[in-house]
Protein backbone atom coordinates (compact mmCIF):
# COMPACT_ATOMS: atom_id res chain seq x y z
CA UNK A 1 0.00 0.00 0.00
CA UNK A 2 1.42 3.41 -0.96
CA UNK A 3 0.74 6.80 0.66
CA UNK A 4 -2.04 7.70 -1.80
CA UNK A 5 -3.90 4.44 -1.19
CA UNK A 6 -3.39 4.79 2.54
CA UNK A 7 -4.81 8.34 2.67
CA UNK A 8 -7.80 7.31 0.57
CA UNK A 9 -8.52 4.37 2.87
CA UNK A 10 -8.07 6.69 5.84
CA UNK A 11 -10.90 8.88 4.59
CA UNK A 12 -13.10 5.88 3.81
CA UNK A 13 -12.61 3.99 7.06
CA UNK A 14 -10.14 5.33 9.63
CA UNK A 15 -10.83 2.28 11.81
CA UNK A 16 -9.61 -0.03 9.03
CA UNK A 17 -7.74 -2.96 10.50
CA UNK A 18 -6.30 -4.44 7.31
CA UNK A 19 -2.72 -5.65 7.61
CA UNK A 20 -1.42 -3.43 4.76
CA UNK A 21 -3.06 -0.37 6.27
CA UNK A 22 -1.68 -0.95 9.76
CA UNK A 23 1.73 -1.82 8.37
CA UNK A 24 1.90 1.38 6.29
CA UNK A 25 0.98 3.52 9.31
CA UNK A 26 3.92 1.98 11.16
CA UNK A 27 6.35 2.51 8.30
CA UNK A 28 5.46 6.04 7.14
CA UNK A 29 5.77 8.87 9.64
CA UNK A 30 3.70 11.39 7.63
CA UNK A 31 0.87 8.93 7.14
CA UNK A 32 1.05 8.01 10.83
CA UNK A 33 0.52 11.70 11.63
CA UNK A 34 -2.40 11.87 9.21
CA UNK A 35 -3.82 8.76 10.86
CA UNK A 36 -3.61 10.38 14.27
CA UNK A 37 -5.38 13.50 12.97
CA UNK A 38 -8.06 11.34 11.32
CA UNK A 39 -8.62 9.38 14.53
CA UNK A 40 -8.94 12.66 16.42
CA UNK A 41 -11.53 13.84 13.91
CA UNK A 42 -13.33 10.51 14.13
CA UNK A 43 -13.45 10.71 17.88
CA UNK A 44 -14.91 14.26 17.73
CA UNK A 45 -17.44 13.09 15.13
CA UNK A 46 -18.49 10.14 17.27
CA UNK A 47 -18.85 12.40 20.29
CA UNK A 48 -20.91 14.95 18.34
CA UNK A 49 -23.25 12.27 16.99
CA UNK A 50 -23.79 10.82 20.47
CA UNK A 51 -27.09 12.59 21.14
CA UNK A 52 -28.33 11.64 24.59
CA UNK A 53 -31.45 9.45 24.37
CA UNK A 54 -34.49 10.54 26.39
CA UNK A 55 -34.39 9.31 29.98
CA UNK A 56 -36.46 6.14 30.49
CA UNK A 57 -36.36 5.34 26.77
CA UNK A 58 -35.91 1.61 27.38
CA UNK A 59 -38.64 1.58 30.03
CA UNK A 60 -41.10 3.37 27.75
CA UNK A 61 -40.44 0.83 24.97
CA UNK A 62 -40.89 -2.11 27.34
CA UNK A 63 -44.08 -0.55 28.66
CA UNK A 64 -45.42 -0.09 25.12
CA UNK A 65 -44.60 -3.72 24.34
CA UNK A 66 -46.23 -5.00 27.53
CA UNK A 67 -49.31 -2.85 26.86
CA UNK A 68 -49.59 -4.12 23.31
CA UNK A 69 -49.29 -7.71 24.46
CA UNK A 70 -51.87 -7.18 27.16
CA UNK A 71 -54.24 -5.66 24.58
CA UNK A 72 -53.69 -8.63 22.26
CA UNK A 73 -54.36 -11.07 25.08
CA UNK A 74 -57.57 -9.22 25.93
CA UNK A 75 -58.58 -9.30 22.29
CA UNK A 76 -57.89 -13.03 22.12
CA UNK A 77 -59.86 -13.53 25.36
CA UNK A 78 -62.71 -11.32 24.15
CA UNK A 79 -62.53 -13.07 20.79
CA UNK A 80 -62.62 -16.40 22.56
CA UNK A 81 -65.70 -15.42 24.57
CA UNK A 82 -67.43 -14.08 21.48
CA UNK A 83 -66.53 -17.20 19.53
CA UNK A 84 -67.94 -19.33 22.33
CA UNK A 85 -71.14 -17.31 22.40
CA UNK A 86 -71.41 -17.44 18.61
CA UNK A 87 -70.79 -21.18 18.60
CA UNK A 88 -73.56 -21.74 21.12
CA UNK A 89 -75.99 -19.62 19.11
CA UNK A 90 -75.07 -21.39 15.91
CA UNK A 91 -75.25 -24.80 17.52
CA UNK A 92 -78.77 -24.14 18.71
CA UNK A 93 -79.88 -22.18 15.67
CA UNK A 94 -78.42 -23.70 12.56
CA UNK A 95 -76.45 -26.63 13.81
CA UNK A 96 -72.72 -26.90 14.37
CA UNK A 97 -71.66 -25.50 11.00
CA UNK A 98 -69.31 -22.57 11.59
CA UNK A 99 -68.30 -20.52 8.59
CA UNK A 100 -64.77 -19.06 8.76
CA UNK A 101 -63.21 -16.47 6.56
CA UNK A 102 -61.41 -17.94 3.55
CA UNK A 103 -57.91 -19.23 4.26
CA UNK A 104 -56.57 -16.98 1.49
CA UNK A 105 -57.73 -13.85 3.37
CA UNK A 106 -56.37 -15.08 6.67
CA UNK A 107 -53.03 -16.02 5.11
CA UNK A 108 -52.53 -12.61 3.43
CA UNK A 109 -53.38 -10.84 6.68
CA UNK A 110 -51.00 -13.05 8.61
CA UNK A 111 -48.27 -12.36 6.06
CA UNK A 112 -48.81 -8.61 6.43
CA UNK A 113 -48.54 -8.88 10.23
CA UNK A 114 -45.25 -10.74 9.97
CA UNK A 115 -43.76 -9.03 6.92
CA UNK A 116 -40.35 -8.75 8.62
CA UNK A 117 -39.70 -12.46 8.23
CA UNK A 118 -39.60 -12.04 4.44
CA UNK A 119 -36.25 -10.26 4.79
CA UNK A 120 -34.51 -13.18 6.50
CA UNK A 121 -31.89 -14.65 4.21
CA UNK A 122 -30.00 -16.97 6.54
CA UNK A 123 -31.27 -20.49 6.10
CA UNK A 124 -32.67 -22.41 9.05
CA UNK A 125 -31.46 -25.92 9.80
CA UNK A 126 -33.49 -28.98 8.73
CA UNK A 127 -33.79 -29.80 12.45
CA UNK A 128 -35.69 -26.58 13.12
CA UNK A 129 -38.14 -27.36 10.30
CA UNK A 130 -38.63 -30.89 11.56
CA UNK A 131 -39.15 -29.59 15.10
CA UNK A 132 -41.81 -27.08 13.97
CA UNK A 133 -43.82 -29.81 12.23
CA UNK A 134 -43.33 -32.18 15.16
CA UNK A 135 -44.77 -29.48 17.42
CA UNK A 136 -47.88 -29.61 15.25
CA UNK A 137 -47.93 -33.41 15.50
CA UNK A 138 -46.64 -34.06 11.98
CA UNK A 139 -43.64 -35.98 10.63
CA UNK A 140 -42.22 -35.05 7.23
CA UNK A 141 -41.16 -37.65 4.68
CA UNK A 142 -38.32 -35.35 3.58
CA UNK A 143 -37.20 -31.92 4.71
CA UNK A 144 -37.04 -29.32 1.93
CA UNK A 145 -33.92 -27.12 1.63
CA UNK A 146 -33.83 -23.37 1.28
CA UNK A 147 -36.05 -22.26 4.18
CA UNK A 148 -35.09 -18.94 5.76
CA UNK A 149 -37.81 -18.75 8.39
CA UNK A 150 -39.94 -21.29 10.21
CA UNK A 151 -42.38 -20.67 13.02
CA UNK A 152 -45.46 -22.27 14.58
CA UNK A 153 -47.97 -19.45 14.20
CA UNK A 154 -51.61 -19.24 15.13
CA UNK A 155 -53.63 -17.91 12.18
CA UNK A 156 -56.97 -16.84 13.58
CA UNK A 157 -58.40 -20.15 14.86
CA UNK A 158 -56.03 -22.34 12.85
CA UNK A 159 -52.75 -23.97 13.80
CA UNK A 160 -50.08 -23.49 11.15
CA UNK A 161 -46.43 -23.89 10.33
CA UNK A 162 -45.30 -20.66 8.69
CA UNK A 163 -42.19 -20.71 6.48
CA UNK A 164 -40.36 -18.50 4.01
CA UNK A 165 -38.39 -19.87 1.04
CA UNK A 166 -36.23 -17.24 -0.69
CA UNK A 167 -36.36 -17.76 -4.47
CA UNK A 168 -34.89 -16.23 -7.59
CA UNK A 169 -38.06 -14.22 -8.16
CA UNK A 170 -38.53 -13.17 -4.55
CA UNK A 171 -39.46 -15.04 -1.38
CA UNK A 172 -42.32 -17.53 -1.32
CA UNK A 173 -44.31 -17.73 1.91
CA UNK A 174 -45.43 -21.27 2.69
CA UNK A 175 -48.12 -21.74 5.32
CA UNK A 176 -49.19 -25.26 6.16
CA UNK A 177 -52.59 -25.09 7.87
CA UNK A 178 -52.64 -28.23 9.95
CA UNK A 179 -56.31 -28.31 10.93
CA UNK A 180 -58.18 -27.24 7.81
CA UNK A 181 -58.56 -29.40 4.74
CA UNK A 182 -59.92 -27.34 1.85
CA UNK A 183 -62.19 -29.12 -0.61
CA UNK A 184 -60.39 -27.96 -3.78
CA UNK A 185 -57.19 -26.23 -4.83
CA UNK A 186 -57.47 -22.59 -5.74
CA UNK A 187 -55.27 -19.90 -7.29
CA UNK A 188 -56.07 -16.42 -6.05
CA UNK A 189 -54.88 -12.82 -6.00
CA UNK A 190 -55.41 -10.62 -2.98
CA UNK A 191 -53.99 -7.22 -1.98
CA UNK A 192 -51.20 -7.45 -4.54
CA UNK A 193 -50.20 -11.01 -3.58
CA UNK A 194 -50.47 -14.09 -5.76
CA UNK A 195 -51.60 -17.11 -3.85
CA UNK A 196 -52.45 -20.78 -4.11
CA UNK A 197 -54.17 -23.06 -1.62
CA UNK A 198 -53.79 -26.80 -2.06
CA UNK A 199 -55.43 -29.55 0.01
CA UNK A 200 -52.45 -31.64 1.09
CA UNK A 201 -52.22 -34.43 3.65
CA UNK A 202 -54.65 -33.76 6.48
CA UNK A 203 -54.37 -29.99 6.00
CA UNK A 204 -54.00 -27.26 3.41
CA UNK A 205 -50.82 -25.77 2.00
CA UNK A 206 -51.05 -22.04 1.21
CA UNK A 207 -48.39 -20.35 -0.98
CA UNK A 208 -48.04 -16.58 -1.27
CA UNK A 209 -45.58 -14.54 -3.34
CA UNK A 210 -45.27 -11.48 -5.51
CA UNK A 211 -44.54 -13.78 -8.44
CA UNK A 212 -46.55 -16.97 -8.95
CA UNK A 213 -44.06 -18.59 -11.34
CA UNK A 214 -42.37 -20.51 -8.52
CA UNK A 215 -45.57 -22.07 -7.15
CA UNK A 216 -45.49 -25.31 -9.20
CA UNK A 217 -41.94 -26.06 -8.07
CA UNK A 218 -42.61 -25.22 -4.42
CA UNK A 219 -45.85 -27.22 -4.47
CA UNK A 220 -44.08 -30.33 -5.77
CA UNK A 221 -41.39 -30.01 -3.07
CA UNK A 222 -43.99 -29.86 -0.31
CA UNK A 223 -46.12 -32.62 -1.81
CA UNK A 224 -43.08 -34.89 -1.59
CA UNK A 225 -42.32 -33.70 1.95
CA UNK A 226 -45.85 -34.09 3.29
CA UNK A 227 -47.16 -37.05 1.30
CA UNK A 228 -43.99 -38.91 0.35
Amino acid sequence: MNCLEFRRQLSIDPQCGEVDFVHHARECARCAEACERANGFESSLRQALAIAPPPQLAESILLAQATQQQRQRQQYRRGGMLALAAAIVLAFGIGMRVEARPLSTQAVEHLREEAEVLTSTKLVSPGEVQQAFAKRGLALHSIPDGISFVGCCPMERHLTVHMVMPGGNGPVTVIYVVDDHERAREDFQRDGWHGRSIPMGQGTLVLLAQDASQFDHVESIWRAALQG
Binding site: C3, L4, R7, R8, S11, I12, D13, F41, E42, S44, L45, R46, Q47, A48, L49, A50, I51, P53, P54, L57, A58, S60, I61, L62, A64, Q65, Q68, E113, E114, E116, V117, T119, S120, K122, F149, G151
Partner: protein, 188 residues
Protein backbone atom coordinates in the same frame (compact mmCIF):
# COMPACT_ATOMS: atom_id res chain seq x y z
CA UNK B 1 -36.49 -13.85 38.75
CA UNK B 2 -37.24 -16.74 41.08
CA UNK B 3 -40.14 -17.15 43.49
CA UNK B 4 -40.31 -19.54 46.38
CA UNK B 5 -43.27 -21.55 47.47
CA UNK B 6 -43.74 -21.82 51.21
CA UNK B 7 -42.05 -25.22 51.22
CA UNK B 8 -38.90 -23.58 49.82
CA UNK B 9 -39.01 -25.16 46.36
CA UNK B 10 -37.90 -22.51 43.83
CA UNK B 11 -39.95 -22.09 40.69
CA UNK B 12 -39.02 -20.28 37.50
CA UNK B 13 -41.07 -17.13 36.98
CA UNK B 14 -43.33 -17.07 33.93
CA UNK B 15 -41.09 -14.55 32.09
CA UNK B 16 -40.24 -16.31 28.82
CA UNK B 17 -36.75 -16.52 27.38
CA UNK B 18 -38.05 -14.53 24.40
CA UNK B 19 -39.11 -11.75 26.76
CA UNK B 20 -35.72 -11.81 28.49
CA UNK B 21 -33.97 -11.62 25.11
CA UNK B 22 -36.17 -8.70 24.14
CA UNK B 23 -35.54 -6.85 27.43
CA UNK B 24 -31.80 -7.25 26.94
CA UNK B 25 -32.01 -5.96 23.37
CA UNK B 26 -34.03 -2.92 24.40
CA UNK B 27 -31.76 -2.08 27.32
CA UNK B 28 -28.53 -2.51 25.40
CA UNK B 29 -29.45 -1.08 21.99
CA UNK B 30 -32.28 1.45 22.36
CA UNK B 31 -29.80 4.30 22.93
CA UNK B 32 -27.83 3.48 19.79
CA UNK B 33 -31.05 3.10 17.81
CA UNK B 34 -32.31 6.44 19.09
CA UNK B 35 -29.09 8.20 18.01
CA UNK B 36 -29.27 6.63 14.59
CA UNK B 37 -32.99 7.46 14.29
CA UNK B 38 -32.39 11.01 15.37
CA UNK B 39 -29.75 11.59 12.69
CA UNK B 40 -31.96 9.90 10.13
CA UNK B 41 -35.03 12.06 10.73
CA UNK B 42 -33.65 15.10 12.56
CA UNK B 43 -36.36 15.17 15.23
CA UNK B 44 -36.12 13.81 18.76
CA UNK B 45 -39.81 13.03 19.26
CA UNK B 46 -40.04 11.31 15.91
CA UNK B 47 -36.84 9.38 16.61
CA UNK B 48 -38.40 8.17 19.88
CA UNK B 49 -41.50 6.95 18.01
CA UNK B 50 -39.37 5.32 15.33
CA UNK B 51 -37.30 3.44 17.90
CA UNK B 52 -40.41 2.30 19.76
CA UNK B 53 -42.11 1.08 16.57
CA UNK B 54 -38.86 -0.63 15.54
CA UNK B 55 -38.73 -2.60 18.78
CA UNK B 56 -42.42 -3.51 18.60
CA UNK B 57 -41.85 -4.93 15.12
CA UNK B 58 -38.67 -6.61 16.30
CA UNK B 59 -40.65 -8.32 19.08
CA UNK B 60 -43.02 -9.84 16.54
CA UNK B 61 -40.13 -11.14 14.44
CA UNK B 62 -37.71 -11.97 17.24
CA UNK B 63 -37.68 -15.67 16.34
CA UNK B 64 -35.94 -14.81 13.07
CA UNK B 65 -32.96 -13.26 14.89
CA UNK B 66 -30.42 -16.03 15.26
CA UNK B 67 -27.11 -14.26 15.95
CA UNK B 68 -26.75 -11.83 18.83
CA UNK B 69 -23.93 -10.06 17.00
CA UNK B 70 -26.27 -9.23 14.12
CA UNK B 71 -28.93 -7.66 16.35
CA UNK B 72 -27.87 -4.03 15.91
CA UNK B 73 -27.68 -4.23 12.13
CA UNK B 74 -31.02 -6.09 12.09
CA UNK B 75 -32.69 -3.42 14.21
CA UNK B 76 -31.23 -0.59 12.13
CA UNK B 77 -32.59 -2.26 9.00
CA UNK B 78 -36.07 -2.39 10.58
CA UNK B 79 -35.74 1.24 11.68
CA UNK B 80 -34.74 2.37 8.20
CA UNK B 81 -37.75 0.54 6.73
CA UNK B 82 -40.02 2.09 9.36
CA UNK B 83 -38.65 5.53 8.52
CA UNK B 84 -39.27 4.91 4.81
CA UNK B 85 -42.84 3.81 5.63
CA UNK B 86 -43.37 7.02 7.51
CA UNK B 87 -42.46 8.98 4.41
CA UNK B 88 -44.80 6.81 2.34
CA UNK B 89 -47.69 7.63 4.68
CA UNK B 90 -47.04 11.35 4.97
CA UNK B 91 -44.12 13.69 4.73
CA UNK B 92 -43.44 15.05 8.21
CA UNK B 93 -43.03 18.80 8.57
CA UNK B 94 -39.33 19.19 9.19
CA UNK B 95 -37.12 22.17 8.90
CA UNK B 96 -35.14 21.91 5.69
CA UNK B 97 -31.52 21.31 6.60
CA UNK B 98 -30.54 24.17 4.31
CA UNK B 99 -32.50 26.49 6.55
CA UNK B 100 -30.45 25.59 9.61
CA UNK B 101 -27.52 27.93 10.14
CA UNK B 102 -24.27 26.45 11.35
CA UNK B 103 -23.81 29.14 13.96
CA UNK B 104 -25.57 32.43 14.01
CA UNK B 105 -23.11 35.12 15.12
CA UNK B 106 -25.84 36.68 17.23
CA UNK B 107 -26.28 33.39 19.18
CA UNK B 108 -22.70 32.27 19.21
CA UNK B 109 -22.19 33.36 22.79
CA UNK B 110 -25.03 31.17 24.07
CA UNK B 111 -23.86 27.91 25.67
CA UNK B 112 -26.08 25.71 23.53
CA UNK B 113 -24.53 27.12 20.37
CA UNK B 114 -20.99 26.99 21.57
CA UNK B 115 -18.51 24.19 21.34
CA UNK B 116 -17.03 21.90 18.75
CA UNK B 117 -19.79 19.31 19.09
CA UNK B 118 -22.50 21.69 17.96
CA UNK B 119 -20.42 22.87 15.05
CA UNK B 120 -19.96 19.26 13.92
CA UNK B 121 -23.66 18.50 14.45
CA UNK B 122 -24.69 21.45 12.33
CA UNK B 123 -22.23 20.42 9.65
CA UNK B 124 -23.72 16.92 9.72
CA UNK B 125 -27.20 18.37 9.26
CA UNK B 126 -25.99 20.31 6.25
CA UNK B 127 -24.40 17.25 4.67
CA UNK B 128 -26.36 15.88 1.74
CA UNK B 129 -28.34 12.74 2.71
CA UNK B 130 -26.51 10.61 0.15
CA UNK B 131 -23.26 11.28 2.05
CA UNK B 132 -24.76 11.42 5.54
CA UNK B 133 -26.56 8.05 5.36
CA UNK B 134 -23.53 5.83 4.73
CA UNK B 135 -21.45 7.80 7.23
CA UNK B 136 -24.08 7.32 9.95
CA UNK B 137 -24.36 3.64 9.15
CA UNK B 138 -20.60 3.28 9.48
CA UNK B 139 -19.99 5.48 12.52
CA UNK B 140 -23.15 4.80 14.54
CA UNK B 141 -24.25 1.46 13.12
CA UNK B 142 -20.85 -0.18 12.81
CA UNK B 143 -21.73 -1.43 9.31
CA UNK B 144 -18.95 -2.45 6.89
CA UNK B 145 -18.83 -0.98 3.37
CA UNK B 146 -20.32 -4.21 1.98
CA UNK B 147 -23.19 -4.14 4.49
CA UNK B 148 -23.91 -0.47 3.74
CA UNK B 149 -23.89 -1.26 0.03
CA UNK B 150 -26.36 -4.06 0.52
CA UNK B 151 -28.65 -1.90 2.67
CA UNK B 152 -28.56 1.11 0.32
CA UNK B 153 -28.65 -1.07 -2.79
CA UNK B 154 -25.56 0.49 -4.33
CA UNK B 155 -22.11 -0.92 -5.08
CA UNK B 156 -19.40 -1.15 -2.39
CA UNK B 157 -17.23 1.11 -4.59
CA UNK B 158 -19.95 3.78 -4.55
CA UNK B 159 -20.19 3.47 -0.76
CA UNK B 160 -16.44 3.99 -0.43
CA UNK B 161 -16.63 7.09 -2.64
CA UNK B 162 -19.52 8.49 -0.62
CA UNK B 163 -17.77 7.84 2.70
CA UNK B 164 -14.60 9.48 1.36
CA UNK B 165 -16.51 12.50 0.13
CA UNK B 166 -18.64 12.72 3.27
CA UNK B 167 -15.55 13.11 5.45
CA UNK B 168 -13.92 15.54 3.02
CA UNK B 169 -17.04 17.70 2.87
CA UNK B 170 -17.42 17.67 6.65
CA UNK B 171 -13.82 18.72 7.09
CA UNK B 172 -14.24 21.46 4.49
CA UNK B 173 -17.32 22.77 6.30
CA UNK B 174 -15.59 22.64 9.66
CA UNK B 175 -12.68 24.56 8.20
CA UNK B 176 -15.18 27.24 7.23
CA UNK B 177 -15.27 26.37 3.52
CA UNK B 178 -18.29 26.12 1.24
CA UNK B 179 -19.30 22.48 0.90
CA UNK B 180 -20.84 23.00 -2.52
CA UNK B 181 -17.57 24.21 -3.95
CA UNK B 182 -15.42 21.91 -1.89
CA UNK B 183 -12.44 20.53 -3.73
CA UNK B 184 -11.88 16.90 -3.00
CA UNK B 185 -8.22 16.11 -2.65
CA UNK B 186 -6.85 12.63 -2.46
CA UNK B 187 -4.04 13.78 -0.18
CA UNK B 188 -4.78 16.44 2.38
Amino acid sequence: MRRKFPDGVPVISPVSSKQRQFDALVRSLSGDLFRYGYWLCGDEALAHDLVQETFLRAWRALDSLRETGAAKAWLITILRREHARLYERKLPQFTDVDEIDVVDERDAHLPEFAGEENVIRNAMRKLDAKYRDPLLMQVLGGFSCEEIASELKITPAAVMTQLFRARQKLKTMLDGGDVRGAQIHELS
